[in-house]
């Protein structure tokens, strides 16, 4: 009988279940490595990974690397977003430009960005800027396409109405195009922030002297499985935290939108 019920349990129950999955994961991992079904050398053990992570934070070594990665992420995100918005607007408002550049934009976007990492390292050195550049190439296109879409998708009636009400082209930008484009940008914010971080970590992984990607690479070099997993754990925790922050910002800025898409939380 109950199986027909479509209602989900309440939020605390769901949180509890989610927590249960996490604990179960660590428990199974622990059991499998403890009984040597999986080799602790290749798979680490949850106890060791947690202990290592804790030690890294306690001794403070991780903060420096985390700071570097976050700085690269933030710079890639900001530069990529600003450039994406500027070019998105330009292309959307200048049809000739958009038509001429269309195939090139598509080609560059289709290129796997990882192959650029060595080139950026060559041009910009092994410091943070080669990582920022890699992140920018990822973030830029997401924001660019969304802004372009946002400007193009403005309802012609809303536009005509604003013009009838006396809006100048500056007013149209501020009161119509920008809000519409920003709503598209914000809906892609999660992806953009995620990609900024991917750019930073992959860049560090492929060549640098600091950052979380560098630490994971170092650990791999000496077959330190626990170190690799510990690095991944730290990365995951911060991605989740950043994502939560983005959700909060999004809710504040997009409160005018109908909340019909999933989620359902207020």
């Amino acid at each position: 009988m109950r199986s027909h019920a479509k209602r989900l349990p309440s939020r605390p129950v769901i949180l509890l279940l989610q927590l249960g999955v996490l604990i179960a994961f660590f428990l199974i991992w622990h059991l499998l490595t403890d009984t040597k079904i999986l080799s602790p050398f290749f798979f680490g053990t949850p106890g060791a990974v947690l202990a290592r992570t804790w030690a890294d934070f306690a001794s403070g070594v991780i903060w420096y690397h985390l700071g570097i990665t976050l700085l690269e992420t933030a710079l890639a995100f900001i530069i990529g977003t600003v450039a994406g918005i500027a070019f998105g607007f330009w292309f959307a408002r200048a049809p000739l430009v958009s038509v001429v550049f269309d195939p090139y934009i598509k080609a560059v976007n289709a290129l796997p960005r990882v192959v650029l990492a060595p080139i950026f390292a060559l041009w910009l050195g092994l410091g943070i800027w080669s990582k920022v550049a890699l992140g920018v190439t990822l973030v830029f296109f997401i924001v660019f396409f969304n802004v372009y879409q946002g400007v193009k998708e403005v309802s012609p009636v809303v536009l005509a109405n604003a013009r009838m009400l006396g809006a100048s082209s500056r007013d149209l930008f501020r009161h119509v195009y920008l809000p519409s484009a920003l709503s598209w940008v914000f809906s892609s914010l999660h992806t953009a922030v995620g990609f900024a971080m991917v750019g930073a970590v992959v860049g560090e992984y492929l060549g640098s002297a600091a950052g979380l990607g560098y630490r994971i690479h170092q650990a791999e070099g000496v077959f330190d499985t626990v170190g690799v997993f510990s690095g991944m754990l730290v990365l995951t925790i911060f991605v989740v935290l950043i994502d939560a922050a983005v959700t909060m910002i999004e809710k504040r800025l997009l409160h005018w939108r109908p909340q019909d898409t999933g989620g359902g939380q207020h």
Binding site: V158, N161, A162, R163, L165, G166, H175, S180
Partner: protein, 274 residues
């Protein structure tokens, strides 16, 4: 000079023809309106009725300066309409509110575009909200309002900038009968107070007669033209609910409906054919 401008009609369409290219770029183009000519005097309330698809919205777009006619021209207060008609306010048939602005900010938008500070624009928008019966709804966003409420916000938004001629495209068709009559009377009061010119489009012949000085009848498309013009000499001020009971009203209704009915049937048949 000034006198000539004052005497010029609020709106004058001269042989306006609107042809749209067919959607696929080839094939036959579609002529929505063919040689439409009419004038709306300063301070006059004119309704246009016609079957669906007969080009009513198209003519209004020409009057607003949003659409360049393929032939003919529009004049507003003696000035040829090229680009947006600055003397006109336009209440659109479709949803036209800015979804990212609250009801209050939507109403205030026109003032802001005219350089009024945001704070002052909001202050001046408040009484307009209560005038359309939406006191206390100012901080709602369009998606949080009902369809009828959105129409009322749009009405306040159009009127707050004090246009000399108001173009209204089926403004009240989304409202229930009571609210509708309330809004119709409110519009008549506003109109009587400062005698703006109004071009009012509606499907509803009764509404057209109750509100207007003159009713124009448009034939079914394609190539629709004005086929009838009726002067409505009912006394003012009017109450839109009461006036429907008077014998003059019924006589006018019968006369115009006789002509309109045939066009509506033709228009319906043509829409099905296309």
């Amino acid at each position: 000079m000034a006198e000539a401008a004052a005497a010029a009609p609020a709106l004058q369409l001269e042989g306006v023809t609107c042809t749209f290219p067919s959607p696929d770029g080839r094939g036959r183009s579609y002529t929505a309106v063919q040689g439409a000519s009419f004038t709306v005097a300063d301070g006059e309330f004119v309704s246009i009725v016609g079957p669906t698809g007969s080009g009513k919205s198209t003519m209004l777009n020409v009057a607003a300066g949003l659409l360049k006619p393929s032939e003919g021209r529009a004049l507003s207060f003696g000035q040829p309409v090229t680009g947006i008609n600055p003397k006109a306010g336009y209440m659109f048939q479709a949803e036209a509110l800015m979804p990212w602005k609250s009801a209050l900010d939507n109403v205030a938008a026109g003032l802001e575009f005219r350089g009024v500070s945001k704070a002052e624009a909001r202050e001046r928008a408040l009484p307009w909200l209560s005038r359309v019966g939406l006191e206390g709804f100012g901080d709602r966003f369009p998606h949080q309002l009902s369809g009828g409420m959105r129409k009322r916000v749009a009405l306040a938004q159009t009127l707050i900038v004090d246009p000399k001629i108001i173009l209204m495209d089926e403004p009240f068709s989304a409202l229930d009968v009571q609210t509708r009559q309330m809004m119709e009377n409110e519009l008549l009061d506003l109109w009587a107070a400062d005698r703006k010119s109004v071009v009012f489009i509606t499907h509803d012949l009764e509404e057209a007669i109750a509100m207007s000085d003159r009713v124009l009848v448009l034939s079914a498309g394609p190539g629709s033209r004005l086929i009838g013009e009726y002067r409505i000499d009912l006394d003012r001020p009017r109450d839109v609910a009461e006036i429907r009971m008077t014998p003059q009203f019924l006589a006018l209704h019968q006369e115009i409906w006789a002509q309109l009915r045939d066009e509506v049937l033709k228009g319906y048949a043509q829409t099905k054919l296309r």
